[in-house]
């Protein structure tokens, strides 16, 4: 059965390691913070200048001066540091963030990602996404495998303007976990109850399927 948003986030959370500095994008990626395994610690980086995002504030704690990159009110975690946007992107661009999780409209078999612009619709801007995909060694994209009309979002070649080139290493969708390498999507895991055939059908780009495709475990 296809995963819901929280289940996608839960699966992504399994990729976290103790001591990781992680940047979570807006949407499903933000939910990952709710599923950090109990036996590990991660520090969340917010590109507006906060390393160590804490929980949302209580009404008493709310402070207009303390927000995350999604402009939500947050708190600072124990051990947090606060810095300028230039310093924040020095971290990001310099490859110091261990893992970046972000959403996308499309990815393709060469690791390209399109996530910020649909021509003809209003372009609201790329925010920090282009810096994040260019700077991170380790990027996980979360998205639905196909759109509402069942058009695949895992393509041979992105049709939309790109956010970054050759940067996506791993994808977690509502149907599968895939690795991107050597010009193909490699199927690693399928969602519980989802068939390999369904994944094949909804993957437009080149898909490599091993003999055995385990189900995700939660």
């Amino acid at each position: 059965m296809s995963l819901n948003r929280d289940q996608i986030a839960m699966r992504v959370a399994q990729e976290l390691k103790d001591g990781y500095y992680v940047n979570l994008g807006i949407g499903i990626p933000t939910l990952v913070a709710n599923y950090v395994p109990e036996d590990i610690d991660v520090m969340l980086q917010s590109e507006n200048g906060l390393l160590g995002i804490g929980p949302y504030p209580t009404e008493e704690q709310v402070d207009a001066d303390m927000i995350n990159a999604g402009k939500e009110t947050v708190t600072a975690a124990l051990g947090a540091s606060i810095f300028s946007s230039a310093e924040s992107f020095a971290m990001i661009r310099g490859g110091h963030v261990d893992l970046t999780v972000l959403g996308a409209f499309e990815v393709d078999q060469n690791g390209n990602i399109a996530s910020y612009m649909i021509p003809g619709k209003l372009v609201k801007g790329m925010g920090g996404a282009m810096d994040l995909v260019a700077g991170a060694e380790n990027i996980i994209v979360t998205m639905t495998h196909a759109d509402k009309r069942d058009n695949s979002k895992l393509l041979e070649s992105c049709s939309l303007p790109l956010t970054g080139v050759g940067c996506v290493k791993k994808i977690v969708t509502n149907l599968a976990v895939l690795e991107v390498k050597n010009g193909a999507f490699h199927l690693l895991e399928r969602a519980p109850g989802v068939s390999v055939e369904e994944i094949q059908q909804k993957t437009a780009g080149k898909l490599v399927v091993p003999d055995h495709v385990p189900e995700m475990s939660f």
Binding site: A86, D131, G135
Partner: protein, 233 residues
């Protein structure tokens, strides 16, 4: 320290010299850490044809958004501008020019502008619409694009505390783009929550040294919250 006393008492003095077609670099991220009163003063001055370099453009009735109604802004240089309807209307109708710039590149362009670095290479935007028309060069086998720095006729900055000679301290994530903006204006104007005496700030804890600051004004702040999110309990 008479020659170093940068405190002015009115918003008119603070923004004196601003005229049509100038470039303004503004601190702030969303509605957090924005120079509210300086922005209102720009609206009241009625100057037009402005180029505004700021990560965002406020919302319809607050922050830089208030400069849109009277069409004071000719061009925005921003990374994300999707927070207001009038912006959308002007942009789609072609009345407003928008130069979308990746957030980290924007921050670095301001820093470089203030630091006398006319251009730098970055991997951000390679192979995307951002790279169009820009020089590409390989370093260690990877492609990078050349990005030029930005300076402004004015910089408008929001800080938490300033001493009278312009040493600044920011508070929490209201820092954001403010330190870079402060370095990149020919005239840098800072609106603060509190002005303190020289010597009250610890030299080791100053975020922006006074050398970058030309004018300081005591502001009053609404500090509007864009997205209130609370802990569940």
């Amino acid at each position: 320290m008479s020659g170093f006393n940068k405190v002015v008492s009115t918003y008119q003095e603070a923004m004196a010299g601003l005229s049509d077609d100038m470039t303004i670099i503004a601190g702030g991220f969303g509605l957090c850490g924005i120079p509210e009163g300086l922005t209102r003063e720009i609206k009241e001055m009625g100057v037009k044809g402005l180029t505004i370099v700021s990560n965002n453009c406020g919302v319809d009735d607050f922050g830089l958004g208030i400069l849109l109604k009277d069409r004071q802004i000719k061009k925005m240089v921003s990374s994300y501008v999707g927070e207001n309807a009038e912006f959308e209307r002007q942009y789609l109708s072609g009345e407003l020019e928008v130069d979308l710039t990746p957030q980290g590149t924007l921050a670095e362009k301001m820093r470089a502008g203030g630091a006398g670095i006319p251009a730098f290479y970055t991997a951000t935007g390679v192979g995307t619409p951002v790279a169009e028309g820009k020089e590409v060069k390989q370093f260690n086998g990877r492609d990078y694009i050349l990005e030029e720095s930005i300076t402004g006729d004015f910089a408008i900055v929001k800080a938490w505390k300033a001493d009278k000679i312009g040493n600044l301290v920011y508070r929490d994530t209201a820092m954001n783009f403010n330190p870079m903006a402060a370095t990149a204006g020919k005239i840098t104007v800072v609106e603060v929550e509190e002005i303190v005496e020289v010597g009250e700030l610890n030299p080791n804890e100053i975020h922006t040294p006074g050398i970058y600051v030309n004018r300081i004004i005591q502001g009053t702040f609404e500090k509007r919250i864009e997205k209130l999110t609370l802990a569940k309990n």
